[in-house]
């Protein structure tokens, strides 16, 4: 009998704590598969965030650290500098990375810290119950923007890939989505690229995943996918923002 699909070795046996239809399970799996395929699990350490994926340190089957809210890139910096021989990744949500942790992410990127950042953007705070995120869309209703996000009052959603790729140091920046099988295949390629670049010591890499939160959006998982395609894509354009491996002179 031939095994054609199985649980990646880089995931533990624990059942995910995510809601039905949540895309965290997909992004966890993609990262774990990439770790397996690149044979990096024994040399990888990850940093989990605060948010729905706070338990990521239990799910990835490599050495893991749990960081304070937003501080994962700083913790990863300390780990990478202490163990330059190891590969380090962070897994962060939009509140963690683009609100409370803006300083840490920008400066880790600006130092060209040799880490992979996996950024989950679902435009909402999931774990605390659906509050407005820095990436919440204009007019989108959340439990702390009950009348819709008023951009005149609170500003526009932060576009992280655009922001990070305005810096010179980052090596690879790409926005992918988890909204269809084709998108997931593309996302996997981006994850592999990012981890491979880090394995080769090329520099800072960031992959943003346009994701959904059916529970806090108040939608079925399929409606959430449809809503995200219609509403998030115009603001969060998919594609590559930086790939120094394609540039001359690197």
């Amino acid at each position: 009998m031939k095994v054609i699909a199985q649980r990646p070795k880089s995931l533990t046996d624990l059942a995910f704590t995510y809601c039905p239809g949540c895309t965290h399970g997909i992004s966890h799996r993609l990262i774990a598969e990439a770790m397996d395929e690149l044979d990096m699990r024994d040399q990888t350490m990850g940093v989990a965030p605060v948010g729905c994926s706070v338990f990521a340190y239990k799910f990835f089957n490599c050495d893991m650290a749990e960081a304070a809210h937003g501080r994962a890139p700083a913790v990863a910096t300390g780990m990478k500098r202490a163990r330059p021989d190891m590969h380090v990744f962070t897994y962060q949500g939009d509140g963690d990375l683009a609100a409370i942790g803006t300083s840490e992410i920008i400066h880790a990127a600006n130092r060209g810290e040799n880490i992979s950042v996996f950024f989950i953007n679902n435009a909402i705070y999931g774990m605390t119950g659906g509050q407005m995120a820095p990436t919440t869309l204009p007019n989108m209703k959340t439990s702390t923007s009950p009348y819709g996000r008023d951009v005149a009052d609170i500003g526009y959603p932060i576009q992280v890939c655009e922001l990070i790729s305005s810096l010179r140091a980052p090596y690879y920046v790409e926005r992918v989505s988890l909204l269809s099988p084709q998108d997931i295949i593309k996302a996997k390629k981006a994850v592999l690229k990012a981890m491979k670049f880090n394995k080769e010591g090329r520099g800072f890499t960031l992959v943003e995943f346009v994701s959904t939160c059916p529970t806090n959006w108040g939608m079925t998982p399929l409606d959430a996918m449809k809503w995200a395609k219609e509403n998030m894509y115009p603001f969060f354009k998919l594609g590559n923002f930086r790939d120094k491996s394609l540039e001359g002179g690197e």
Binding site: T12, R41, D42, Q43, M45, V47, V54, Y57, K58, N61, C62, D63, M64, A65, E66, A67, A68, R71, A74, V75, A76, T77, G78, M79, K80, R81, A82, R83, D85, M86, S103, E104, I106, H107, R111
Partner: protein, 364 residues
């Protein structure tokens, strides 16, 4: 031991930390500790270590968290307002049982305060400045030599208890030059040996199957039953530290002391001068100087209050913080007097002497 060199406290503690095996240092500039970060920026590359000027105090302490999670000797330093920013990270270090060293070169507060020496961060340091149930061993040096020596002491304690340790100095100790003698530089082999003691829990290369391990650096325990056990274990650690790690100096202490003084750090140096002068004039004044202000030497103070002691006198560069611990030790047996200076102003030995004379006079 090598020969004595004349050095600022800030530089001496940095040099001593490198000699003690610290190869990872992360900090943000702030007066009056800037010589420390500058020294590290010069010397860490020569020691083949990591120096990062972090984007903030918060980032710096979290870099320490990451490096300490890898079982390496890591340090950060700052001055009062910056130490406030580090409190989040210190709480996480304590919760995750991580060894680390934090140097506070105190200045006047609250708020932005000023840049002169002060002792206003005593409560923050010894009563737990961050959230949750935790304690930190707090070393309070009073000379540049002690400041330097406290680095290896702090790293040894941090390793022994897997816990963050604070060195509580101030702008005077940081800026002042005194002769200092250093311990020899630890060799690469010695440092590797130190790191090995953490291999059973820290992040290090996973072993291929079947020895593959999954180590977690973490302070989160969402199940209250598990968190309860975790915090109880932390409490047991603090009990052991309280029993084993008190350290204090007894100065001119005898059974006939009329007044027992208590002071730490820079304040204690000034009190010593006043005590010396009064004792040559025929009075009998003793001094207890806590060298570590947590765990606090309550019993040493209690023991020093003989039947002849009429008063206990506390001197601090704040509005009166350590005095609360002194009162706990004295437990109402004799009156506890206080003299403090704030705003980064020091008292002179003459002022202390005059104050002690007044208190002696009250007894006549």
């Amino acid at each position: 031991m090598g020969e004595k060199v004349l050095m600022k406290g800030n530089e001496a503690v940095a040099e001593a930390a490198i000699r003690a095996g610290c190869r990872l240092y992360f900090a943000y500039p702030i007066t009056p500790q800037s010589e420390l970060i500058e020294y590290m920026s010069r010397m860490m590359p020569k020691a083949k270590g990591t120096f990062i000027q972090a984007e903030s105090e918060i980032a710096a302490i979290n870099m320490v968290y990451g490096a300490a999670g890898c079982g390496k000797r890591a340090m950060t330093s700052s001055s009062s307002p910056g130490i406030s920013l580090k409190q989040e990270g210190i709480s996480y270090l304590a919760g995750a049982n991580l060894p680390a060293v934090i140097v506070n070169v105190q200045r006047g507060g609250p708020g932005l305060g000023d840049i002169q020496p002060a002792q206003g961060d005593y409560f923050q340091a010894v009563k737990g400045g961050g959230h949750g149930d935790y304690k930190m061993i707090v070393i309070a040096p009073s000379t540049v030599q002690e400041f330097a020596d406290s680095a290896s002491d702090a790293f040894d304690l941090a390793d022994k208890y897997r816990h963050p340790i604070m060195i509580l100095s101030d702008g005077l100790l940081g800026q002042m030059m005194e002769p200092v003698e250093f311990q020899p530089m630890k060799t690469t082999e010695e440092i590797e040996e130190l790191n090995k003691q953490h291999f059973d829990w820290c992040i290090h290369p996973n072993q291929p199957e079947p020895n593959h391990h999954h180590h977690e650096i973490n302070s989160l325990e969402i199940d209250p039953i598990i968190l309860e056990q975790h915090v109880i274990k932390l409490g047991q650690k603090y009990d052991v530290i309280t029993e084993k790690e008190q350290k204090w100096e007894e100065y001119s202490l005898n059974n006939d002391n009329e007044i027992l003084c208590v002071a730490f750090g820079t304040a204690s140096r000034l009190v010593k001068s006043a005590v010396d002068q009064l004792n040559t004039e025929g009075f009998n004044i003793g001094l207890i100087r806590p060298i570590r202000v947590w765990p606090y030497p309550y019993d040493a103070i209690k023991k020093a209050i003989t039947d002849n002691v009429k008063k206990v006198a506390v001197f601090e560069l704040n509005l009166g913080q350590m005095i609360e611990d002194v009162r706990l030790a004295v437990n109402g047996k004799v009156p506890v007097k206080f003299m403090g200076k704030v705003g980064g102003i020091l008292f002179t030995p003459e002022e202390i002497k005059a104050q002690l004379e007044e208190w002696l006079q009250e007894e006549k």
